[in-house]
């Protein structure tokens, strides 16, 4: 292993560990108080078992599929529809599925598509959907560059970053409990639809308004870098695209508008 890379990773890990430790200890008493308050509140509202169920069961495959399909429809709708070009489709899916094969969720039904928008961005939806805009696709002339972009989005899905936002939401937990107690196709569909409306709204706010937390984005950059390398693509593919975009003049409104600034992402990614 490259000693520079090893040193960088060690430093990153050490920094992360120190940050984590600092977080743990400096806030310990606050955390205990907070836990007490949270426990009391939870007991007070225990009759609403739905608020508890989310903490122990998570989001299952059928729910992920419902949410993923709905979020994918929203992404397509907001970004000009899909580029219906079979050659383009074939390229993104061959490169994308090569990556997905070595991801942490190789058995997902992975699907990659190009959005008919001149803006520069990429999105993912639960259940294996990855979208890249035409504006970004045109910057990815080499498969190394394309792989770098797609691998970042694959990392969001394998890390369940969007689903975690939904799973942390109290209202979703309550609804999920109700769904699990229902019987009858029509009633179940009605509850599923309410679940889908709520979770799609939460995810859309993140994808199109707030963006993921910067730490989550940097984590996806790292995991994607790693995945591209495992698959035999140049690990610096994403970084090269980001550098190219920055050199062209970063426009925060049209270039990765929901991601951290290009300079910060470039700084955190290894050169190779």
């Amino acid at each position: 292993m490259n000693p520079r890379l090893l040193a960088s990773l060690t430093a990153l890990l050490a920094a992360g560990t120190v940050a984590y430790a600092a977080f743990d200890f400096s806030n310990l008493s606050k955390a205990i108080d907070s836990t007490k308050k949270a426990t009391t509140k939870a007991l007070d509202t225990a009759k609403d078992a739905g608020k508890i169920v989310k903490g122990v069961t998570g989001i299952g495959p059928e729910e992920e599929r419902n949410i993923g399909d709905s979020v994918a429809i929203e992404i397509i709708s907001r970004y000009g529809g899909l580029v219906r070009d079979e050659e383009v489709m074939r390229r993104v899916n061959l490169v994308g599925r090569s990556l997905a094969r070595y991801s942490d969720r190789p058995e997902l039904d992975w699907r990659f598509g190009v959005l008919d928008s001149a803006s520069v961005n990429a999105f993912s939806a639960p259940d294996g959907y990855v979208f890249i805009t035409r504006g970004l696709y045109e910057q990815a002339e080499s498969d190394d560059a394309l792989a770098g972009i797609l691998a970042h989005e694959v990392a969001h899905i394998t890390g369940k970053h969007a689903l975690n936002i939904v799973a942390r939401n109290d209202a979703f937990g309550a609804l999920s409990k109700q769904v699990s107690q229902r019987s009858g196709d029509a009633r179940e569909l009605d509850y599923q639809l309410r679940q889908v409306n709520l979770s799609t709204d939460l995810i859309m706010k993140t994808l199109f308004e707030k963006g993921f937390d910067p730490l989550t984005e940097y984590a996806a950059d790292q995991t994607g870098h790693n995945l591209a390398e495992t698959c035999g693509y140049a690990p610096g593919g994403l970084r090269a695209v980001l550098v190219h975009l920055k050199e062209k003049g970063e426009n925060r409104r049209t270039t990765f508008s929901t991601h951290p600034a290009l300079a910060e992402r470039i700084k955190r990614l290894p050169d190779e």
Binding site: I59, P61, W110, G232
Partner: protein
Amino acid sequence: MKTPTPLAVLLTALLSVSALYAYEAGGSAYTKRAETNLLTEPKPLAASAAKLPFGRVVKIEEVNGNWLQVSDGKATGWVFAGNLSATKPDEGKGMDALPMLASQTTATAAARPLAPAAIEYASQKNLSSAQADLEWLLTECHAVTPEEVDAFMQENKRGEYK
């Protein structure tokens, strides 16, 4: 299910990055595919020695580049490092109590249809055009077979074909 904070997500990513380089003889790893093929030699087209199910912990006996000779106590064989996970994979049993593995929904001749809840969602939001696009995407993606992906990887020397 615990939902990780962004800091935990970053730490996990950093650990997984370091773990990629940390495979060494005497260590352990997990299978992450529905079925992981152990091979008789560290070559992608070598004969199969055994098949392991999802989530099986294996001991790393030997490291040869990106290939690992592993054993689960009964079977021994070679596997490309990218086919294993340094951390235990999530079994992913959720509220609908179904296993996470999409492979258990076995390949079929047709692309899977959109979820009924998503179709209803599109109808209520007047997103029929986007729904049609997504249905086209599902069909196109389904047309790219696993065999074609494998051939592409062989031709371009990707992953275990490096």
